[in-house]
Symmetry: C3
């Protein structure tokens, strides 16, 4: 059996792969049914303000959001690339593992120009569900809060 460190690494890479290859529906399946997914500006997070740029309190909300994206389809068309550092294991308790990992998302516009879109930290609570690692909580703590385009697709 693959060691759990490799499985965590695989989960993060799978996360990036599905987002960057426009497999957004399959991306939601990487979360548990009761998963919390939030994008928070770092300043807010550090000061304990709960205000999030995006907050989904379960997988159904994630699926709704992706569905809305697909239907609306009016956001700026672009390609994302997620660069993710190797994770730092913060805590292991039973079947739950807490990790943190730096991320950097670059975005390529329809003009073919690539720019830094968001940098920050993933704070993840990962759980084993039916033998698979899934995100039970994913907090995206974004250093970047001034972006020329809206956050349409997930970070």
């Amino acid at each position: 059996m693959t060691p759990y460190r490799e499985r965590i690494q695989d989960l993060l890479i799978e996360y990036a792969w599905r987002l960057d290859n426009d497999k957004l529906e399959e991306w939601t399946e990487l979360f548990t049914e009761d998963a919390r997914y939030e994008i928070l500006p770092r300043d807010n997070f550090d000061r304990g303000y709960p205000l999030a740029l995006l907050c989904c309190r379960n997988q159904a909300m994630l699926r709704d959001r992706i569905l809305a994206l697909r239907v609306a389809n009016e956001y700026n068309i672009h390609y994302d690339r997620h660069m993710i550092n190797a994770p730092k294991i913060m805590d292991v308790q039973g079947d739950e593992i807490c990790i943190e990992a730096n991320y950097l998302v670059v975005q390529t516009s329809q003009d073919g120009v690539t720019k830094v879109f968001s940098a920050g930290l993933y704070k993840d609570r990962i759980k084993v569900v039916d033998g698979q690692l899934r995100f039970k909580e994913k907090l995206v703590i974004a250093d970047t809060f001034c972006v020329p385009t809206l956050i349409a697709t997930p970070i």
Copy 2:
């Protein structure tokens, strides 16, 4: 013996190291004799257009290209840095392994300014040759297609 996952990781890192440290001749040795190396704009690749920005159909063509670079030496002088994500293993068949990995290349000009140069995906077919992992096929699927400078050195 080192597990094959680590050996794939090592190959990708060696690939970046040789390019970024101007070991371009040694870089060609990471490919099999019959290796295909292509840089393709993502739009073209997604639509099945075969048009590549660069296409080498074997190692000899790669060596020729590097030789041309060395002789000409008229391209913009710069330093590259390749950031490469951990690979996603797509398929393992016998002694061939298919992987995909996000990359981000930043380039530093002679003025000492560093900019994003290219972001995209490596789609690699890796083969064991004489006990060594080698690229049998490397497709560089580039999100970025509008670059202020020409692609001189490999991505």
Copy 3:
């Protein structure tokens, strides 16, 4: 016991984590007492010029520098994110391991805009001290030498 490859990876990630989360005092503890830490422009390093942008010849000097940062606190406030590639093992001799790893630091200003700050190569000599991996020497070979802001916090 964790294999030494994973422990090196962990050390690099811990290094990034402490810097990016403003644990600068704890960051100095990742170095041996007699550690050398230098930031060198790549051109200088390649030509054998010893001129460094920053040179600390032991851990005490590192601690002094961090203390000065804390007291002065007049440098531009910003957030750093260190992206670090998997390391290339260069040499293993007894309890010392030499590695090299590409890095990319992006910096977010108080305006919330994230930009590339520095790209380059870590050339590290790592030693086991009391069972822990520590930097005995860390050379930061920076491709980038033209930065709009001064180097205040370590790279």
